[in-house]
């Protein structure tokens, strides 16, 4: 086994090289293609196949590396001497990194296969080489984020990730909305990065090094409020990327603007990089002696994100925007686990913190799979119908049977329903919170039941939203020409979605192996007391701390399917062979049922809009043209608007303030060279005085 580390190093090199080749070769191929007029398209097609295939190979290598790290438990450490002026550089892949690396690779691989079919649409219109360059750089930089063991390297790849996604969001750059979304994203991302720089500089000033190894457990050595400042920098800096409310505003703009394969990666994986950063800083760097308000603050943000995320999702008719809001909701659910873990750690209950963090990390993986799946499904719908507005869809279950089945699985999973994977992580989150109720601390006693209630609310609203999203898009009669002319997607697209469906099923029905690994990873992060807090015996998943709360997902799934035999048998026994007759749906006495008679998505969410009207502040306008008779109105237009509280009360004032201060600053920008020379002189004198 002595050559084991070498083998893992080799796999790491394969991963990095694969993405790099996938990034560098396609632009060259495309360029050659463009210089030869008649054989150009062939070069582009080859570039596409090469770029996505090498991304797939890298992802497979990434999976292998992740599995080897997670099973062996010992980290892979690579020191690179003298790369930058700042000295040595380190790559450090421990179990936490390995887990996120696995998540990236799993979704990255599936999306790369999907893209082989999906990118055909981009082929004629776009520079394929450029797209593939950015796509592979995006994947490579995400891998870089989780394996970086050095703050400078980390910030470098973190920026690379933000910039690559900026270009991927603005692929459709003719559309002003797309440009605006990309700009908003890059501004928000840089606000986050700025805070991360501040955080690392603070840590540097106390350790004299940018190496992550020196940051480990530094929280107890930092004086006074410094740990809290670092905590807040990390929370906001990573929170922007994760998309927590109120830093979420870029997310519903950027996800729909990007091509669907990119949105699947952004929503499935990229926003989890924020969670990775938080887990790294909160538990690895700052823990375990932390004040309890950190956990409470994270819980408040988590609850706000999840409830508002799902409430805004309910009002959306744009399939991809709807999914984007659900990402905010799910980040909220993940952060409930993280927040509860912080809270329990601060009160000295490492075992409970272990359960909460296992729940959070398992939800990271689950959300990556089912949200990746749902975005790919939305991409297929968009590909087939050329509309994202679900009010114009309907009846796709007949024209796109596979896509609709896969989307349904994703919808059941994201609603947290058994026997799929969303249920397992929500169940664990509930268990962690319920057990926390026994901690004799007033803040916990208030925070925990409210979090439980709001998690239940979130789950139920998510189910309502996906009944709407699936029902209006795929069921009933087609509401427009777009939907009527839909066709099933290409085999690679279906295959990629099918793969993610299988992962969702496995994670839901047989969660044992992955949970075992997550357990030991949490033990490595929080200390041995937190290890093994979620036990798996003979397919039975239970939480030992509570002695007896358990669920058996495999048996449950088996019975759900197996017991269908009883109604089938009962039907045959009580009524014999079934007589079937096809007859039209009742149309209230009219001749036949029309698509316009069906419920719309707006109508579907009306009760919820009424119940939560204080949050939505909806206004609607009805315009009726009164041309001929007052009884037969030829045109009725209905417009509904919901208001974003955050834009109105937080971002707009902030923007006004920024513009006002820019106006003030303009006074020193005279435009005369003499005054600039004077500024330089004054600055030099001041620097000489201070620096000496």
């Amino acid at each position: 086994m002595s050559d084991w580390p070498q083998l893992r190093l080799l796999i790491l090199i394969v991963t990095v090289t694969g993405y790099s080749l996938g990034a560098l070769l396609p632009p060259i191929l495309s360029a050659i293609g463009r210089s030869r007029l008649h054989s150009g398209p062939a070069f582009d097609t080859f570039a596409r196949n090469f770029g996505f295939t090498s991304a797939l190979v890298s992802s497979l290598a990434g999976c292998a590396l992740s599995i080897s790290i997670l099973l062996a438990g010992e980290p892979l450490h690579v020191e690179i001497q003298n790369t930058l002026p700042l000295g040595g550089m380190a790559i450090h892949v421990d179990m936490l990194s390995g887990f996120f690396l696995g998540t990236i690779s799993l979704v990255g691989g599936a999306v790369s296969v999907y893209s082989l079919g999906y990118a055909t649409e981009l082929l004629q219109r776009r520079n394929m080489g450029f797209f593939l360059f950015m796509y592979n750089v995006f994947l490579l930089s995400m891998v870089g984020v989780v394996i970086a063991g050095h703050a400078v390297l980390f910030l470098f790849v973190w920026e690379g990730m933000s910039l690559a996604t900026y270009f991927l969001i603005s692929v459709e750059h003719e559309d002003p909305a797309s440009r605006r979304a990309a700009f908003l994203y890059v501004v928000m991302a840089h606000v986050g990065t700025a805070l991360l720089v501040v955080m690392f500089v603070i840590l540097y000033s106390f350790t004299g090094s940018f190496d992550f190894a020196t940051f480990k457990g530094i929280g107890s050595r930092l004086p006074g409020v410094v740990p809290s400042v670092v905590f807040l920098c990390a929370l906001i800096g990573f929170g922007v990327k994760a998309g927590i409310v109120p830093l979420h505003i870029w997310l519903p703009e950027a996800h729909p603007a990007a091509p669907s394969n990119v949105s699947a990666l952004m929503s499935g994986v990229m926003i989890k990089m924020g969670i990775y950063g938080m887990a790294r800083v909160f538990f690895d760097f700052l823990g375990p002696t932390i004040p309890s308000w950190w956990g409470l603050l994270v819980l408040i943000l988590a609850v706000t994100s999840s409830v508002l995320g799902v409430l805004y999702a309910l009002m959306e008719h744009d399939l991809k925007r709807l999914l984007a809001f659900h990402s905010i909701e799910n980040i909220g659910i993940i952060l409930m686990g993280v927040g509860a873990a912080l809270l329990f750690v601060s009160l000295g209950h490492a075992a409970l913190a272990g359960i909460a963090l296992v729940a959070a990390l398992y939800h990271v993986l689950n959300h990556a799979t089912f949200k990746g799946l749902l975005f790919l499904g939305a991409g297929s719908v968009l590909h087939a119908t050329h509309t994202r507005n679900i009010e114009n869809l309907g009846g796709l279950i007949r024209t796109m049977p596979w896509t609709s089945f896969f989307f349904l699985i994703g919808a059941v999973a994201i609603s947290g329903l058994p026997p799929l994977n969303g249920f397992i992580s929500e169940w664990l989150t509930f268990q962690a919170l319920l057990l926390g109720f026994h901690i004799p601390d007033l803040a916990v006693k208030i925070a925990v039941p409210l979090t439980v209630a709001l998690l239940a609310l979130t789950g139920a609203l998510a189910a309502a939203c996906f009944v709407k999203a699936f029902g209006i898009t795929f069921l009933g009669l087609p509401r427009s020409q777009h939907a009527e002319g839909a066709h099933e997607s290409s085999p690679t697209m279906i295959g990629a979605m099918g793969f993610l469906v299988i992962i969702c099923l496995v994670l839901g029905v047989v969660p044992g192996p992955v949970l075992f690994v997550v357990n030991s990873l949490v033990g490595a992060l929080l200390g041995t007391n937190a290890a093994g807090q979620v036990s798996l015996n003979g397919g039975l998943l239970f939480v030992p701390t509570s002695a007896l709360s358990s669920v058996a997902p495999t048996l449950l799934a088996g019975l759900l399917i197996g017991l269908i035999a009883i109604p089938v048998a009962a039907g045959l026994f009580l009524g014999g062979r079934m007589q079937k007759r096809v007859a039209m749906t009742w149309a209230c006495g009219l001749q036949r049922i029309e698509p316009q008679m069906q419920y719309t998505a707006t109508g579907f969410s009306k009760p919820i809009r009424m119940i939560f009207s204080t949050i939505y502040r909806a206004t609607h306008e009805i315009e009726i043209s009164e041309e001929s008779s007052p009884y037969f109105r030829p045109n009725i237009s209905y417009e509904l608007k919901t208001e974003s509280v955050f834009l109105k009360y937080f971002y707009d004032p902030a923007l006004t303030l920024l513009v006002a201060s820019a106006h003030l600053l303009r006074r020193i920008q005279t435009g005369r060279i003499q005054s600039y020379l004077a500024y330089i002189f004054i600055t030099l004198v001041l620097l000489l005085l201070f620096a000496r």
């Binding site: 209630a453 189910a463 709360s549 358990s550 058996a552 449950l556 009883i566 009580l574 079937k580 039209m584």
Partner: protein, 318 residues
């Protein structure tokens, strides 16, 4: 699990108690409501006759519908059967108690609701969407209240396992009179009315488009499919009454597997379920159905009751 025979016997007893008795519960509620209206009413056995007839009738399938329309009745029935295996009726612990806890039960009901609501949109009918929309909206405000009520019961027992909750409580009968316990019971009772589609939330006896919720979703079902859906919702009512009676008042429930204990358990269960059906019928008869947008207020009451229960539980302690 060395003794396989009692394991199977008790599991079957569980299923029989819910599956066979469920139509009777509905029958009792209907009969009582009829008596409240000074009608004689149909026999308490009428739901059985209805089901038997539905099984023999042909199934009408709308051409717009998909495989979901044909699959959902079976899924609804089998999921409810799984729930019936988890909720203690006569014996605690039930043999498969480790398979799932109260959260699993709630989420399995949510699974059924999810698919039935999809079927509402599947047929292309205007009523189906109306029912689905209302059902999902009401369910989403029911859920937090239900979780909190359950939370206080689970908090007392230190576990979410239903059998453990029931066992803990039956060994400490004085806890049944804890005010926190009674508040949580009232919270869950309101939740039960909403979840099983009873007046004042939904009226199971009407097909008026202004008021119907559950019936609107399943309007296109007929024959055997309707029988499964109806039977599953009757089972849901029976299961909720079993939850109410056994989580809060597990009197007489058999904790050992002797013929005597089980016999008493059966009698106690029948008595409790009977009383609760009468109470449900009385509530249904003495209240008017609420306007749809007044329903959240009622559920807010349930939520506050459950929250009060938790706070009291925190103050009084256990």
């Amino acid at each position: 699990m060395t003794e396989i025979a009692p394991f199977i016997a008790v599991s079957l007893l569980q299923l029989v108690m819910i599956v066979i008795l469920a139509p009777l519960v509905t029958g009792i509620v209907k009969k009582t409501k009829a008596r409240f209206q000074r009608r004689r009413g149909a026999s308490v056995l009428q739901p059985y006759y209805d089901l038997a007839k539905l099984f023999k009738k042909e199934v009408v399938i709308p051409p717009v519908s998909s495989w979901l329309f044909r699959f959902t009745p079976y899924l609804a029935f089998s999921s409810t059967l799984v729930i019936a295996l988890l909720v203690p009726t006569v014996v605690a612990p039930v043999p498969l108690h480790w398979m799932g806890d109260i959260i699993t039960v709630i989420y399995l009901f949510a699974l059924v609701r999810f698919f039935v609501a999809l079927v509402g949109l599947d047929t292309g009918s205007a009523f189906g969407g109306l029912g689905s929309s209302r059902e999902m909206s009401i369910a989403s405000i029911v859920e937090p209240a239900m979780m909190l009520a359950i939370f206080s019961a689970a908090g007392t027992a230190g576990s979410t396992n239903l059998s453990v909750i029931v066992q803990k409580l039956s060994t400490t009968p004085e806890a049944m009179l804890n005010p926190a316990h009674l508040l949580a019971f009232s919270g869950l009772f309101i939740v039960t009315l909403a979840e099983t589609g009873r007046v004042p939330v939904d009226n199971p006896a009407t097909h008026l488009e202004l008021t119907m919720i559950h019936e609107a979703m399943i309007l296109e079902y007929s024959g055997r499919y309707l029988a499964f859906i109806e039977w599953a919702s009757q089972m849901k009512l029976a299961i909720f009454l079993a939850l109410l009676s056994n989580i809060f008042f597990p009197v007489g429930i058999a904790t050992v597997l002797t013929p005597w204990a089980v016999g008493i358990g059966v009698l106690a269960f029948l008595f409790k379920i009977g009383v609760l059906s009468l109470v449900v019928a009385a509530v249904e008869s003495t209240n008017a159905k609420l306007r749809l947008f007044r329903v959240p207020e009622l559920l807010m009451v349930a939520f506050i009751l459950s929250l009060l229960a938790l706070i009291l539980y925190f103050i009084i302690g256990s």
